[in-house]
């Protein structure tokens, strides 16, 4: 019966039978989530998320919200916030949570694998060039340029982070940066820096919040 099949399709897509109430765009907004579409969507995100990290938010939004209509931009922003709080690679984290939300556990695994696959394939090609032709004078020349750019990029990132720490918290922001640099220069491990930052940051945030609450409760 055709009418039944219509109803089923709408139920699967999670849409409302808006076509009958005169709002066709609401029904056509969300495409049904199939394994094939999930794979294609996350492969595409993996190809387009060039720099990774926060830069991939617009890519995710364009694909999952605008193109597929699988979730609202607000929901996507929420998953992004969660993915940032957790350690690891943001692209993988966002893919895993949204994949889970769309198609369960296997969806999470498929989404994460598909999002990473383009990068891995690309790097196997780069690795082949790097390992096999590192002695070639043209490859070696390009690598010399790259080495310089890496040092420049890291230094620029450090300066920019230090400037924003200074703007946000003055000397109290710059002191941890200087202490970290001194620790690293004297042969200290970055692992200790990360652990100390997590402990200090959590304590500082928690106590500041409590102090504020007590003051708020007093007045």
């Amino acid at each position: 019966v055709p009418g039944d099949r219509d109803g089923l399709a709408l139920a699967v897509s999670g849409g409302t039978p808006a076509g009958r109430s005169g709002k066709p765009e609401a029904a056509s907004a969300a495409t049904p989530v199939t394994w094939g579409r999930l794979l294609v969507s996350y492969l595409r995100v993996g190809c387009l998320a060039f720099g990774g990290g926060l830069a991939s938010l617009p890519v995710f939004r364009a694909e999952l919200c605008d193109r597929r209509g699988w979730m609202s931009p607000d929901e996507m922003a929420g998953w992004f916030g969660a993915a940032q709080v957790v350690p690891g690679v943001i692209l993988v984290n966002v893919s895993a949570t949204t994949g889970l939300r769309l198609k369960g556990r296997r969806g999470a695994v498929l989404a994460a694998l598909a999002a990473v696959a383009p990068a891995v394939v690309c790097m196997l090609g780069v690795g082949w060039l790097w390992l096999g032709y590192g002695g070639n004078r043209w490859v070696a020349g390009g690598l010399r340029g790259l080495r310089g750019a890496v040092v420049g990029m890291l230094a620029a990132a450090a300066v920019r982070l230090a400037v924003s720490a200074w703007k946000n918290a003055g000397v109290r922001g710059l002191a941890p940066a200087a202490a970290t640099a001194a620790w690293m220069m004297s042969g200290g491990s970055p692992v200790a820096v990360v652990l100390a930052t997590v402990v200090c940051g959590a304590l500082a945030g928690w106590t500041a919040d409590r102090r504020e609450r007590r003051r708020g409760g007093g007045t």
Partner: protein, 180 residues
């Protein structure tokens, strides 16, 4: 096989400690990979350059490339799995709870403190790798040093996108540095 497991665990550990994504992993990787003598400082600098200049997240690219270099295709897969697993599994397991808790004061405190710490970590790493660039091979690499200075000013002053900076750096290297 043993080497693949080691690769997996090394990258798993790096991934667990990297909060805030991306650049956070660079100092951790520098320590983990160079100390194990899997890469020299100069090779590590190349690794980061290649990872940044190609599509995909730096961490995934660097893991795949290191694994490939150290132990072939199996190593590439092991290292990539190690770098992806902690965050992906954690975020999938905690899901909606994390979305609610991301505004928790302790969480915000950690992220706020991570910025200054990262400034120090990256500054020190830039210095270490820069020293290798300048005098590591017994002589100054003028081409790489020049590119470093230009890209530093470019990224800081014009807010250029890293993609263009890296493309220009490769072109400069080919033009001035291919002669040996």
């Amino acid at each position: 096989m043993m080497l693949c497991w080691t690769l997996f665990w090394v990258f798993f550990r790096i991934s667990v400690l990297s909060i805030g994504g991306g650049y956070n992993m660079i100092p951790l990787m520098q320590e983990g990979l160079v100390e194990r003598e899997w890469l020299t400082d100069a090779q590590f600098t190349e690794l980061i350059g290649l990872s940044e200049a190609t599509p995909g997240p730096i961490a995934v690219n660097a893991a795949t490339l290191t694994g490939w270099r150290v132990a072939g295709a199996g190593g590439a897969l092991a290292a990539t799995a190690g770098v992806c697993l902690p965050g992906g599994a954690l975020v999938a397991a905690l899901g909606a709870w994390l979305v609610r808790k991301r505004e928790h004061p302790a969480v915000k405190g950690v992220l706020r403190w991570m910025g200054p710490a990262l400034a120090g970590l990256l500054g020190a790493t830039a210095w270490k790798l820069g020293v290798v660039l300048w005098g590591g091979a017994g002589r100054v690499d003028g081409v790489a040093a020049g590119v470093a200075a230009v890209s530093f000013l470019w990224l800081l002053g014009w807010k250029g996108s890293p993609g263009w900076v890296f493309a220009a750096a490769v072109v400069a290297g080919l033009a001035f540095g291919a002669g040996g």
